[in-house]
Symmetry: C5
Subunit: 350 residues, 5 copies
């Protein structure tokens, strides 16, 4: 079931306090870096996010587990975020989007990853705020797909340490889209599995598997399609927060989102085709069985009739009395059966 | 059945007088508020709507039960509404739309709410008129979804008391869209219910349930889709009646309508998929039964034939006379039955 | 079958002379009116259309039964109509369209009305020419849907007598679209009828009824869809022939055409859904019958086999000789039948 | 099968030499005309096309049977045609298109005509070149649909002799589109034929007829759709080769192409509906037969069982010995059969 | 399965080192040509690509087998290619696209060819770089479809030797699209084959053949559709790297891609239709067989019942004792069978 259903009648612009599943230990990690230096730490208190940092440093604040609204309120205050955005961060089921403000860019997107344990696609909404010297990310749960980016920062691989915060945003979006490919790969594997089974061993379970794949495909499309618009908007918009280098790299993500969409559309077509084949195959199989059984029945019914004739008790049945009566009856039966089998074979029914 | 069928040949621009179900007690409630003060009263006479109020106050006139055309005529006169608008207010089955005039904005939208008693989506057409110091709302029936907004005005929660009339219009539209989410949630629950039943216990009733859900989905889409355009128009249009604050908040509604549409499209896809699964499952079940019955029949038909053979009355049937005749016949029958069952099992038909 | 097939190889710009069904009595009615005065007469000769009239009067010339091409030629000459337009007026099966000329506007649209006698939608092509002081309408057959408009002129109801010719054109288009609603209402009634029957008593006749409804829906859409563009064009175009008042009123027609289209689309969806339900229901019914019959057959086949066994003529069948043989056989049969019925019930097949 | 498959690896811009079916007698007809004079002749040598003509004359060179590439090469040289155009003329399977050059316009379109003999739609690609004083047309085969245009030129009917070459191009396109109507009419007749048969006598042949009609519809659409763009381009483009009169007349063709497309879409919808009805009808019929046969079988199976019971050879079957045994057995059988028929009737299965 | 799945978490802008299938012998062929001279050689070392050449010469560097990333790195360095492009060249599964840089154009497209041996469409990604005096092409595997272009260069056929590098790019794209036609032709042949079989001998194998054709069609469309945009972009963009001659010729490719898309759409429609016919035909056939068998069964069941009646052992069955009993029974049976056959024939069931 698609999510996106919020509580009606709620005050707009107020952070949702999801009381029932409050977990106190919110995780805030702060990474400061520039070409020369790098520091990483876990913040126990939200105020640590606002400690002054040396000039030109990029600061990445990553907040997980959105259970304590006060953290978002505090960060929102510090960075002058619009109240509606604070609401957007805490409300799950948002559509990927970008909003441009004077001092910051606000991006919502979906992290997807395939969880091998529960054999399901895991969803997580990610909010990214890009200011002129910091990037703040809000995740839904602890754990994310950003480890490779952190590694690149730690080990100064690639351009990331030399570039501004917008390049960090690009790197995060890039890794998110890369994970879409992994999810796609997994979907592709499962479709291929079904493709094989449909031919060899079509069972009704395939129906619900195809249904699940379709729902997952719809989910993936709902994550990718608006992200494409987000990236296209970032490429074109004149915001000074985005460097020219970032813009060129963003086009790469744009191409990737189109490729993912292309593949999703292709898989949808293939799935629809598989469903047709499945339905046709399974109906064919059943029909073939029924045909065979009906043929068997049809051959024996006339034979039983012949036996019935000679089981009649009429006093005067001349052939009954003869020695050749019984063999003749058996012979007639064999002949009848043979004729029917020959006819059925000739017609190509068996 | 979609509504929207008016009487042909009627004079355009004249208020429809729905004579047959006139109910005299029209309900008019008037709320005046600003940051400092707040007053609420029920008007018994339409003239009460036009009593002078202190400057800068926002006045919200809420008219329910559109049975007395004279009330609308009188309000229309006072606020110089175009005759065609007066007609639009009284004619049900309008498409959500916005019309911009020099002195006022005119908005038509649909209130939806799920009525648990009759297990149906309840529709109500709402006309909103925004002037520079008042908001007038015309509902179809008594009762609406605006109680949370009234509470916010009464208790000065949020921004509403500090803002101008356009913010009240935003608040009303916001609460209407929030109720779309509730309706969606209800639809989603019913779809999940069907999703479970389709697998466990597919009955023909599911067909008409899916049909009803589809019709409700179409109805919801017909309410949301044009509302999206209405909100988009309000965001972009240059009308001085809309404050900048309102415009920013309206974008939030715009996002919500897109999310609702997204979910509706997703549900449609899922419903179509469920219908396929249902049809396939029910046909599979019936086929399985027929297969089983046919197998039973097919096993006994040859046995009956063998019995028929030894029921023939030929004088000369050598095996008839022997002591081993009867056991042999039973043995042949058992053998035949066993061979057929073995063959059917081998083929995987049972 | 959609029409619109003209004779190939015909000279373009020449009025088609439909020789075979010439009816001499063409009907020309002329109404002159302004706020003060009103006159109505039947013209016997086409020249009467060109009699001078007092200044500022609006003249409405209504020509029915397009069998005499000379009438159109003559009117065309008088009002300097382009030869291709004269051709458009006489050729049926035109698509609704508007063409803007310096001195006149040319509109083609479709009058639809439901004929209760022949239970069919009646089509009539209407050509409207709007000049600065006259409106000329060409109908296909005598009889139209404009009586309410004539009444309003005669009795000076509404704005029509105070306004210019373009308001008359608006009034005509408005009444035409109102009749679309009547046709829609009729279609809606017939769909509801089918909706009920599909559940209670699905018969193959429903198939062709659904087919007819679909064809009528397509026809209605082909009349409404281009009319929407015609009205939108009239609203936007800068032609001085259209007064500002008319333009505002035209928007109302625009909204109505969109509502009609919306309903048509909805009905199409519902019809498609009904077809699915019909097919599924009828196949379910037949399957249920077959299932019942097969069960009956399957229960008796083993019983017949048992009877067959004891009908064999072996000399040595010990149980045959015993007094308890017959009751035992009957008991075994009853047991077998009971076991099968129990099994079928347990499986939920009956 | 759609055509349009050229030889890969061929040199672009070179005229295809279709060696295998060279026919030497290429047909070139030349018509010179203006308001005053008219001359028509068959050219035996391509050089005759370039003989000087009096000023202001329109020259129409019509070349059929494109087997001798040298003719096109020569004409191409004389009129300075771009090499790629020469290639376009000789390659069949082109999409209708227009290309604008400084000195000439190049148009490709499809002539369609229904051939009653082979009961098929005949295709012919036509290339039209419009220069400031000549029109050159290249047809695929001898024979075309232009006889009515030639008649008009010969007998000075309509405007054609008074107008410039672009009006001749309009006249040719007009007659081509008129022939689309004829093809449509034919398709419409065949669809109506099928519509009747589907109800009366659905046979599997209808399937392939519907398939053929669909393929022909696709073909027609592929010819009309791009032609619409061609005509729209001609209307809008600023080329001095097209006179204002021609532009006005072209709009008429534009309307016609839209009408053809409209009808094609309608027919497609109707065909799809017919296919549904056919499949449903044929499956209904077969099911009805099976139902009848199964009922017959089901009635006799219990009777046979009863007969079987009294055919058992037990020594002690009391009723066997009585005089009323036989009539009683027959009575029980009649009763059983009656009860079953009554039950089946009550259920409405027969 | 569509490809396009890259390794997630990979550093963007770094050339993928596909370690497992490194083949050392990369093939680099270099062709230098202008109107006067021509030279062709195989480069053993990548540095040979950068040897100076005489002015105004066009150099075509063709690199096959992308296993050694250092070659691309080196060429990328020499021609100042953006790091992301180097990545694009080595990553398979890219969507056809064009990127415009100051000094060069970068084009990715798909070479398709039908491999008769493995009866499959072979894919190869081709990257083209156009600089002001050189064209560099990177293929996936040895072997390409460019031999006709090389021939034209070697033998100075057509314009190629007289034109600039952009004309070489045009020639390569032209030959690639020509190969799409060949693939289309092959698909068309296979569809026609299926079209014949569907009518004569529908077997379940057709289902998977249609499925394969559909997947291949999707693949072809994914190659052609974006190529159309690439060519359209080249036509319109103002890059000085493209000569005016090339631009005119490119329009020809543009037309061809649209024709290919048209045909693909047509084939998809036809395939969908064939699937419908197949499913309908196969279900008809099976139904016909079942009908025949059921008729046979139904005729014999009443006969067996009659035989059963006279097989009953009642002492008092008057007709049993008579000499005419047996013939009468046979006569009744014949009569019953005859009546049933007559009825079935009359109903037109056989």
């Amino acid at each position: 079931m698609p999510d996106g259903v919020e509580k009606a009648g709620q005050l707009p612009g107020k952070v949702a306090d999801k009381g029932k599943d409050v977990v106190t230990d919110i995780t805030i990690s702060i990474i400061d870096y520039d070409k020369q230096s790098y520091s990483e730490r876990q913040a126990l208190d939200v105020e640590e996010c606002f400690t002054p940092k040396e000039k030109n440093n990029v600061r990445w604040i990553d907040v997980d587990m959105l259970t304590d609204p006060s953290v978002i309120e505090r960060i929102g205050q510090h960075y002058h975020l619009h109240p509606l955005l604070r609401e957007d961060i805490t409300e799950m089921g948002q559509r990927p989007k970008i909003e441009e403000f004077e001092d910051y860019l606000f991006i919502i997107c979906k992290m997807l990853s395939y969880d091998d344990l529960i054999e399901e696609i895991k969803f997580e909404q990610l909010s990214i705020i890009l200011t002129k010297d910091a990037v703040i990310t809000f995740g839904e749960r602890p754990g994310d797909v950003f480890e490779p980016v952190r590694d690149r920062i730690r080990n100064d691989k690639g351009l990331i340490r030399s570039e501004d915060p917008s390049f960090l945003v690009y790197s995060l979006l890039d890794i998110i889209v890369d994970n879409y490919y992994l999810v796609l790969e997994n979907l592709s594997d499962r479709i291929e599995e079904i493709e094989d089974k449909v031919v060899e061993n079509p069972s009704p379970k395939i129906l619900s598997k195809v249904h699940n794949l379709k729902v997952e495909m719809i989910t993936l499309r709902k994550a990718v399609w608006p992200l494409r618009d987000v990236v296209a908007h970032m490429e074109r918009c004149g915001s000074p927060l985005l460097s020219d280098t970032t813009r060129i790299y963003l086009h790469d993500i744009y191409d990737h989102t189109i490729q993912v969409m292309d593949s999703v559309e292709t898989y949808r077509d293939i799935l629809a085709g598989l469903l047709d084949i499945y339905i046709s195959t399974i109906s064919n199989r059943l029909n073939e069985i029924m045909k065979f059984l009906t043929i068997v029945g049809t051959i024996f019914i006339p034979l039983t009739f012949i036996a019935g004739v000679y089981g009649m008790n009429f006093r005067l049945m001349p052939e009954i009395e003869q020695w050749w009566g019984y063999p003749m009856a058996l012979f007639i039966m064999a002949l009848t059966a043979g004729a029917m089998i020959w006819y059925i074979r000739k017609k190509g029914w068996l």
